[in-house]
């Protein structure tokens, strides 16, 4: 296997894909209410931003322990790099008003990561399997509905996928060019500073490296020249460069580093369990069924993308077989493993996140975002199959068709990407509530008793209703939506200032219930407190209830809605 040379035109194409994606995300994000976790990160970013301003004005005062702890202690369960970028982006917004809404300023870095990720997927795919694979892989990844949703947010989930994919790419390059080992270490430091998912990478690389070493040894025994080094320079670089970058970029870690790292790690190693509905059962403690990430992948990634990925793995199957076994079980075939065992790396990187989430001791996180780092490779295997489909289509096309090769590729891509495109567009702005055809769509998933949403972001879809219903303002009990998320709807100009959030359910003018299984408790509280089971409005998505809105009978009487 010889790898394709990548030139500036490829980078330009990758960047163009990314730029188009960022543009789509910017437009889309106007409709997406701020999610629960985003609210916390925005608060953190505001504190970081104030610290950055102080740093520019008076560096010595800003770098005292008191000043650092005051600014950086909040939300220290997550590293600071991404939130720092949110903060800098927002500072730029304050100075130059770059974005149409304040929320966009916080979210822009996440969108940028989504765009850059397409670039990395394109370059990775193009270098390994060819430009068609790179391009199709990037598009197939972009058109996973939940990826599109998360790419719009001021959160870590897409940035960490970018960083993990980039580290993997650098590691892969380092196998044949030791200079890349330094880059691997540098990028790994940034990945550590992005989210703790990066902790899993050395284990994945070590397993892969064993394949590489054994393959190399057998090749050398057979008389081949040295192709890859037995020395894991990448590991040395990751170990030496990663931790200093991690600590250096996170001011909170500058003092009491060891105990603070222990506190940070402990948070994730002893993570709370979220409620998650799965086939009608509300899981609140491990183990979740091992099938969870696999079924959720089946139900949320477009079926055709999954079918292509399975077919793509099948097409590359011979290159996945360990050295020693290959000669015995599949001595000859059209696909040869390369010295870097690239297929094994991509396959392992695809499986590892799903396997980790499947483990019975893994905390219940719930969201598909926790194994998003599998999807770039899933998309690349899908793209491998796409090339085969296009090749088959070319042979079946009549000779009179002009530019058969290009016609076949464009035609096949159009057909294969049409469902993901349609589903992604349809998923907006209900991303987390969306289920694909394999689940029977949103109503099918409701029939199966699957989780309908989390994070309270769907409140953003109620703003027009509230504006119309409450021209004189009033109070709303906001259920799973955070105060900062509600406030952001007002800052964005989507909700009047006099429509206020309240924590007093009993006395609110309106109360909303986000329909997750365990939130029925709030429905019942409202029934008991207000004496009625009738919501005045039900926000639906494909006919499935997403939010119920109740009106306090006192308010209804005042408004003359009831006698």
């Amino acid at each position: 296997m010889r790898f394709r040379w990548i030139g500036w035109r490829d980078h330009l194409l990758g960047l163009a894909l990314g730029a188009a994606y960022v543009a789509a995300l910017l437009v889309g994000s106007r409709d997406v209410g701020m999610a629960r976790d985003e609210g916390f990160y925005v608060v953190a970013a505001e504190r970081y931003g104030a610290w950055f301003e102080r740093l520019f004005e008076d560096p010595s005062a800003a770098t005292t322990r008191e000043a650092v702890d005051a600014a950086w202690s909040y939300n220290h369960e997550h590293p600071s790099l991404v939130k720092s970028m949110f903060a800098l982006s927002h500072l730029a917004q304050e100075r130059w008003e770059l974005f149409a809404q304040p929320s966009m300023a916080y979210r822009f870095f996440g969108m940028l990561c989504g765009g850059l990720l397409l670039w990395v997927i394109y370059v990775f795919g193009a270098r390994v399997y060819g430009r068609a694979v790179g391009a199709f892989g990037a598009l197939a990844f972009a058109l996973i509905p939940r990826v599109f949703y998360h790419s719009q947010l001021a959160a870590f989930d897409v940035p960490i996928v970018l960083m993990m994919t980039l580290v993997t790419y650098c590691y892969w390059r380092s196998l044949t060019d030791a200079r890349w080992a330094i880059v691997t270490g540098l990028v790994y430091g940034l990945a550590l500073e992005t989210k703790h998912n990066a902790w899993t990478l050395p284990a994945i690389f070590l397993i892969h490296f064993l394949f590489v070493v054994f393959t190399e040894r057998r090749a050398r025994e057979a008389g081949a020249p040295k192709r890859v080094s037995y020395v894991p320079w990448w590991l040395l670089s990751m170990a030496l460069l990663g931790p200093p970058i991690f600590v250096g970029l996170w001011p909170w870690m500058w003092w009491d580093t060891v105990p603070r790292f222990g506190e940070y790690a402990g948070f994730h190693l002893n993570h709370v369990h979220y409620n998650m509905a799965y086939f009608g059962v509300n899981y609140f403690r491990p183990p979740l069924p091992m099938s969870f990430p696999w079924v959720m992948t089946l139900f949320t990634v477009p079926l055709v993308t999954l079918a292509l990925a399975v077919a793509g793995v099948g097409a590359r199957l011979r290159a996945l077989i360990p050295p020693g076994l290959l000669e015995r079980v599949w001595p000859k075939g059209g696909v040869e493993p390369d010295p870097s065992r690239t297929d094994v790396l991509l396959f392992g990187s695809m499986l590892a996140p799903l396997v980790v989430i499947s483990m019975p001791w893994t905390p219940i996180f719930g969201g598909t975002k926790h194994w998003f780092s599998a999807y770039p490779y899933l998309a690349l295997f899908a793209a491998v199959a796409f090339v085969r489909v296009a090749g088959a289509a070319r042979r079946w096309l009549p000779d009179r068709v002009p530019l058969r090769r290009h016609t076949a590729r464009v035609g096949a891509a159009a057909v294969l990407l049409a469902p993901p495109l349609v589903e992604t567009i349809h998923s907006h702005p209900f991303g987390l509530s969306h289920y694909t055809f394999a689940a029977g769509g949103v109503p099918g998933a409701a029939d199966h008793g699957m989780n309908r949403q989390f994070w309270g972001f769907t409140t953003g879809s109620l703003t027009e209703w509230f504006e119309e219903r409450m021209p004189d303002g009033g109070t709303v009990w906001i259920c799973d939506t955070t105060w900062s998320a509600w406030r952001m709807l007002q800052r964005d100009g989507r909700l009047a200032e006099n429509i206020r959030a309240t924590g007093d359910l009993v006395n609110a003018d309106y109360a909303i219930v986000h329909h997750e299984h365990h939130f029925v408790e709030v429905d019942y509280q409202i029934w008991a407190a207000w004496g009625s089971v009738a919501p005045v409005h039900v926000l639906t998505y494909d006919g499935v209830p997403i939010i119920s809105v109740y009106e306090h009978p006192r308010h209804a009487r005042r408004e003359g809605d009831v006698p």
């Binding site: 010889r2 790898f3 394709r4 399997y129 060819g130 609140f284 079926l303 055709v304 079918a307 292509l308 059209g334 491998v384 090339v387 085969r388 489909v389 090749g391 088959a392 289509a393 070319r394 042979r395 079946w396 090769r405 076949a408 096949a412 057909v415 294969l416 049409a418 469902p419 694909t436 055809f437 029977g440 769509g441 949103v442 109503p443 029939d447 799973d480 924590g503 007093d504 359910l505 009993v506 299984h517 365990h518 939130f519 029925v520 408790e521 709030v522 429905d523 019942y524 509280q525 029934w527 008991a528 407190a529 009625s532 089971v533 009738a534 919501p535 409005h537 039900v538 494909d542 119920s548």
Partner: protein
């Protein structure tokens, strides 16, 4: 680099290659099926107008003793939006079908309500994408529903001479609310110990272990000393059916102790139930045909727990059968 399968040598495909090519082309079929399937799913979404027209049909024929449900359960908010004024909180939080004469169901996507009798519906009408179904229910008259008479109950904390009367209070507004906060404290309730705010007796709605609503009487145990609710002049009928459970979040971990319930008629115990975590909305049935008791009697429900920590117990009971 992998050899592209559409290399120039592939212009004269062999039979084997054609066969493989057909398999690869089948993936285009997956895409087409998914695309068509997506639009079929969209086409089957129930329009708001169908719900409104189906609700109108129910509303015109509804009468006291009718119960309205949604099938599937996830459509319940839509049914309550359309017909919620005909569904009392006590009906939404029912324990079973006793006392109801007819069951209406607004059904979509071919679902049948779990509570439907094992018989064909007496009414089955399609209103757009909504099916309106109605069954006549087996007669099981309810003589007395304890949840309707909490105010009349005499509630005490403790035993013997040391028993203290809990006082009926009208605070003007309910208290509580929010995820994990547990059931709402009603505006009117018997308050047993103001220093222990959980020791009150009154009606509320609690989510049981299945997350179903239960309209019930909150009677949190105080420990080994009983909390007693005594209801005077209860028509006894043939039997008393009691259900009870602990609040979902306090039961689901299955790590707390039991709750003991004793039901007495005129001071004579007629039934006991021990509720353990994992039991869910547990049913107990006791005969009320006590020798010497008349058609009416005094019924006492006593709740204790060896360890009352997080024993957020709530119960509902009725007497049933002939009142002759």
């Amino acid at each position: 680099m992998e050899r592209d399968s559409d290399s120039p040598t592939s212009d004269a495909p062999s039979t084997s290659r054609r066969r493989w090519g057909a398999l690869w082309l089948a993936l285009l079929g997956v895409a087409i099926v998914e695309l068509v399937g997506h639009f079929v799913v969209q086409a089957r979404v129930v329009p708001d107008d169908d719900w409104a027209r189906a609700a109108g049909l129910v509303r015109r024929a509804h009468r006291p003793g009718d119960l309205i449900v949604a099938a599937p359960g996830w459509a319940d908010p839509l049914v309550r939006q359309a017909l919620g004024d005909l569904i009392e909180p006590a009906e939404a939080g029912r324990s079973d079908l006793a006392g109801y004469e007819r069951l209406w169901a607004l059904s979509i996507r071919g679902h049948r309500p779990e509570e439907a009798p094992d018989a064909p519906a007496e009414l089955d009408r399609a209103v757009g994408a909504v099916r309106v179904l109605r069954w006549r229910l087996p007669s099981e008259p309810v003589l007395y529903d304890f949840t309707e008479h909490v105010r009349e109950a005499r509630v005490t904390l403790g035993t013997g001479d040391g028993a203290r009367r809990c006082t009926w209070r009208r605070t003007g507004r309910p208290r509580g609310g929010g995820l994990g906060a547990g059931p709402i404290q009603p505006a009117e309730r018997h308050v047993c110990d103001p220093r222990r705010s959980w020791l009150w007796v009154g009606t509320t709605i609690q989510d049981d272990l299945d997350l179903s609503p239960r309209y019930c009487i909150w009677q949190h145990p105080a420990g080994r000393e009983p909390i007693r609710a005594t209801f005077p002049g209860v028509p006894l009928g043939e039997r008393l059916v009691l259900y009870g459970d602990v609040y979902y979040e306090h039961e689901r971990h299955e790590e707390h102790g039991p709750v003991h319930v004793t039901v007495s008629v005129n001071g004579e115990p007629v039934g006991r139930m021990t509720h353990r975590d994992g039991d869910g909305w547990k049913r107990m049935e006791a005969s009320t045909e006590v020798p010497g008791a008349g058609a009416r009697g005094e019924v006492t429900v006593e709740v204790t727990a060896p360890n009352p920590h997080l024993r957020t117990f709530c119960w509902a009971a009725t007497t049933r059968g002939s009142d002759e």
